[in-house]
Symmetry: C2
Subunit: 331 residues, 2 copies
């Protein structure tokens, strides 16, 4: 049987999540900015780990979560990212493949350990991430499989990948290969502090290489240094073909030149853990996009996938999104 | 402030659980006996891991879970068991200490990796365990801290520890030290297949060194090679001072010489994952026991702790059992 072509190739930091519940006072005492992601080095990782209660390990990584979501929806997804040949690397590799995602990269045999993010979940379900990048810092252009990039309808890059310097080169290489092959390149801005760190080069990259941009309000505000959403929206629609803007429980907006769609968020019974909301929204949207669905439907698929993932602990779907989508009337 | 003395010291295999959901057909196809524990070697661990879907890693180990439960109830618990100095060993160590349990053993610096149990959860919430013992096989009598055993009101041993040969010697050493110090020794039979493997030496141990025996119906049936529960009950009350027999949703029976108590199980909304039910029942019972509570109350505390742990994924409490017990009227 001939293989289906790859719908979406995602490239990002290969991370395992270490999730622990904390109270609001814990964030305050440790001066952590709620709902953000900060990068930490090994000593801080150890210090923080000792302070938190019993934890759970679940595979994560923004772009990896997106790939898992696309696969769960019935799409063909691939992921590129770097782990080490250690226990957590083995766990990450198992889980991404078990999710049906093509993951063929070789683990590093030396250097720092597989990346982990200490994710602190407050009682309101919000997540505050503290990421030790470890082996992710060794991803380099030679890890980019040219054939795979050229095959994938969409190559999706996470902004977080801009943090490790060699990975940034890999990121740019992939974007350019995809463009040259006439494929679409998508980017998520990942986190407003990440945008703060890399604003000017993100702006340059977006205007040059990006077809589809995913961002939430805070990230967009940081990118264009404005607190007026409408102003940011004007900027972004002049720079990318398709802008997909998420606004948490306020839903999402799709802007494609003069075409606008405002889509409500899917209601959920209880926000258990917000980790992966944006990642899974992108899964739904991109799955619809590669199937040629109208933008509004793509956005609704995004909401459906995001709603599933925030209803439980961990940033990967725990039930078949394909079945959920079918039950919700997506044909 | 003076430290409280140790209420319960538990000794067992130090294991991290790798939990994955499977359907009934998966068990059948792989010839796995539902609700049992089997020991596997590394090649089988790899084979099985490749077959299962995305997983979650949560610290486990029967006696370690019991210690975590006692701590959650407000008791002072200690644990002895062996991990390696690897990522999973670090995770296990973090979690048991974060649960408030004293764990001072040194990790092995060579030899097999930290133990893991591949726990397959079927849609009915039942768990089928496949355990690679790894570093647990290196626990030996020199790992038993004499002072701690002599201090603990109860030393609790898991039958599973009878599987690794050197650990068995550690187990016997601890039991005898505790007896000599005038402390109570408790044993859980762990699993009916485990009893099958070690029947005669378990029988000998029980009549010689055990004050409190925990068993479920199948384990007791295996121990006395009878399918008649009443007959097994007659046997056991002649051999141990206190027998605590669990019968899943049928509740539990406490037999102390001529005194009998039949206690109903606590109703739960949904059985999510049966892993740890027996372990946490023992937490509740022993916590009550060390506080001098009547047997019926000890058993009800056991039911309360078991009910919490089977309502979510993973074999350690996710909420304060002390608060739950207070809310349920335990003073």
């Amino acid at each position: 049987m001939a293989q289906m072509p790859i719908d979406v190739l995602t490239i990002g930091n290969a991370i395992v999540d270490v999730l622990a519940r904390v109270d609001e006072a814990f964030l305050e005492k440790n001066k952590l900015v709620k709902a953000s992601m900060r990068l930490i080095e090994e000593p801080e990782a150890h210090r923080l780990y000792e302070l938190v209660g019993p934890s759970v390990i679940i595979s994560g990584g923004s772009a990896a979560n997106t790939a898992a979501g696309i696969s769960s929806l019935g799409g063909r997804a691939a992921f590129m990212g770097k782990v080490r040949d250690d226990q957590l690397g083995e766990f990450f590799t198992h889980d991404i493949r078990a999710a049906g995602v093509i993951f063929e990269g070789q683990p590093a045999t030396s250097g720092p350990a597989t990346a982990r993010s200490f994710i602190l979940i407050t009682p309101d379900g919000e997540r505050t991430m503290n990421t030790y990048l470890g082996a992710c810092t060794t991803l380099s252009p030679k890890d980019i499989d040219k054939v795979m990039v050229e095959e994938a309808a969409v190559t999706y890059l996470e902004g977080y990948l801009w943090d490790p310097p060699a990975a940034k080169d890999a990121f740019v290489k992939a974007a350019q290969l995809a463009r040259k092959a006439g494929r679409k390149v998508a980017l998520t801005l990942s986190d407003s502090f990440c945008v703060d760190r890399h604003r000017s080069s993100f702006r340059e990259l977006i205007s040059r290489d990006i077809d589809i941009l995913f961002a939430n309000e805070r990230e967009l505000a940081s990118l264009y240094e404005t607190r007026f959403f409408d102003e940011a929206l004007q900027h972004v629609r002049n720079e990318v073909e398709l802008a997909v803007l998420t606004r948490s429980e306020a839903g999402s907006i799709v802007a494609c030149q003069d075409e606008f769609h405002i889509i409500e968020a899917k209601k959920i019974a209880k926000l258990v853990d917000a980790t992966g909301a944006g990642d899974l929204y992108a899964s739904g949207f991109l799955f619809g996009f590669t199937r040629g669905r109208p933008f509004a439907e793509c956005a609704r698929l995004g909401s459906l996938a995001a709603a599933e993932v925030i209803s439980h602990l961990g940033a990967r779907p725990q039930t078949s999104l394909k079945a959920l989508a079918e039950a919700a009337g997506f044909g």
